[in-house]
Amino acid sequence: MKDVAIAGIGTIGFGKSPDLSASAMANRAFKAALGDCGLAREDVDGLVCHIGSPRGLDYDEIAALLGLDLRYASQTWAHGRFCGTVLQTAAMAIANGLAETVACVGVFRNTAFSRPGTKGFPGFDENFREGGGPHAETPHTGMIAPIGGAAMSFQRYLYEHDKTAEGLAAVALSQRAHASLNPLAYKQDPLSEDDYAAAPYICEPLRRLDCSVPVDTGVVVLLTSLKRAEKLAQPPVRLSAFQGLSGGPNEFVFGRPGLGIHQRDRFAGTSLGADEPVFAKSNLGPGDIDTLHCYDGFAPQVIWTLERFGFAPVGQALDWIQGGRIGPGGELPVNTSGGHLSEGHSNGWGQTVEIVRQLRGTAGARQVPNCRNALWATTFGDAILYEN
């Protein structure tokens, strides 16, 4: 997909806006993205949106309310895991001539609703899917809310690798250190190891500071052909390689493959590491990545992403991240915007605009020096390699 690039980005920031409609958030982010690169509304002929109503906005509403005339539209299921899928779908639509310029829309209202796992949360009925909830929820057993699956996986991970949970603090602390340099981050106040140790357990072994912070946000990313992007106001950020989201009996969205958490009966997990397709397609390896951005609904997902994509040996990431390795100025700065844990839970869109800033060299105090290759990668297997 070397011929497709991100041309423009726009965001309303990450905070509490319970009185703002999803369409107003989308509109503001959309205008910001157009203004960023100098495209006009009429130039946008494709749309891929992430989460629909009521927490987001469905594709047909976006098209109607924002006045877009589309010849290509698509939308993913109401979960955070599809940021990469949305961007990949847009890139494939452009590469195959279905659209010339695609708006990728991530709009999320959260603070107007009760928290995930409670009966007032939109989509509570998903807990009763035939195969169990999307994060292994099984309500009558008390296994409820996304954190349950993440905590269950992490406990098993600790056992399999003979580790203790203390090392996980480095994820929250590193990402907060990044967020303190990001004026858009919802949580910017510094965190100490004592703060972390004092944070209450929500679902043991995970503490409150291991959990993402719910926010309201709107992000629009404009993709177009590299040829067209080169004529616009900003330097293009190319999507130079990608791989899709994984699924199957070994896969669980909040765990390393093969941990056997979601009432599954297969336990054979393999991590391809540096052999993941995203690297093979680009002739790059983990050591060539200047900054990694990953889905961090819960801190252990950073650990599993580092292992899945070969940055750290399997079972060793809790040790590998110590000593500032993933923080500001570290060997591999991870989630330099603060990620979901500190910037706010944007389902990957905050990370995406941050990747673009890093590759444009406009990330301010948190700029990674000489940033050439940035990777988006997740516990659940999808990845996008971005280059400037």
């Binding site: 409670t118 899917r129 057993t141 905590a151 056992y159 979601h262 009432q263």
Partner: protein
């Protein structure tokens, strides 16, 4: 450890409080009802595939290994062990308000399915790898699920 499947009748506990299961019980497709109906009689049954003879989890209408829909419902052949566990310090559902902190066990039956269930041993921290005992947990409306007790506990 092998158990005599025909002799195995699980003991029953009532879910604490006066709760109906109607907002927490799973959706049960007609071809998966056997597991839940058997629990009401104290039997824990899993689907055993007629073609590849593997034992699968109780949900789902086909064998995830070979795609066969032909299966017989067989008692668990091995006692479960703790595969993982968590301790909820927050109640997301009103049914669990009076229970926090409470533990949920992921219990692995041999090489077969992993089942979640509430941990009934108050004050006892679960240990991964420990053999445990499945118990039927009954709600006021008659719905029955699986919970787990210490292997040698009385109820």
């Amino acid at each position: 450890m092998k158990t005599d499947p025909t002799a195995q009748t699980l003991s029953f506990v009532d879910f604490p409080g006066e709760f109906s299961s109607h907002t927490v019980a799973p959706y049960i497709a007609p071809d998966c009802e056997v597991h839940y109906e058997a629990l009401k009689t104290g039997k824990l049954l899993f689907p055993n595939c007629a073609e590849c003879h593997r034992t699968g989890p109780p949900n789902g209408g086909c064998c995830p290994w070979c795609g066969s829909e032909e299966r017989s419902w067989q008692p668990a052949q091995t006692a479960p062990v703790i595969h993982s566990w968590v301790r909820y310090h927050r109640a997301y559902l009103p049914e669990f308000n009076d229970l926090v902190p409470y533990e949920v066990i992921a219990a692995r039956f041999g090489d077969g399915p992993v089942l979640f269930g509430r941990w009934l041993a108050d004050g006892v921290t679960p240990v991964i790898g420990t053999e445990i005992r499945p118990v039927v947990e009954r709600w006021t409306d008659g719905f029955c699920g699986v919970a787990f007790a210490q292997k040698d506990a009385k109820s």
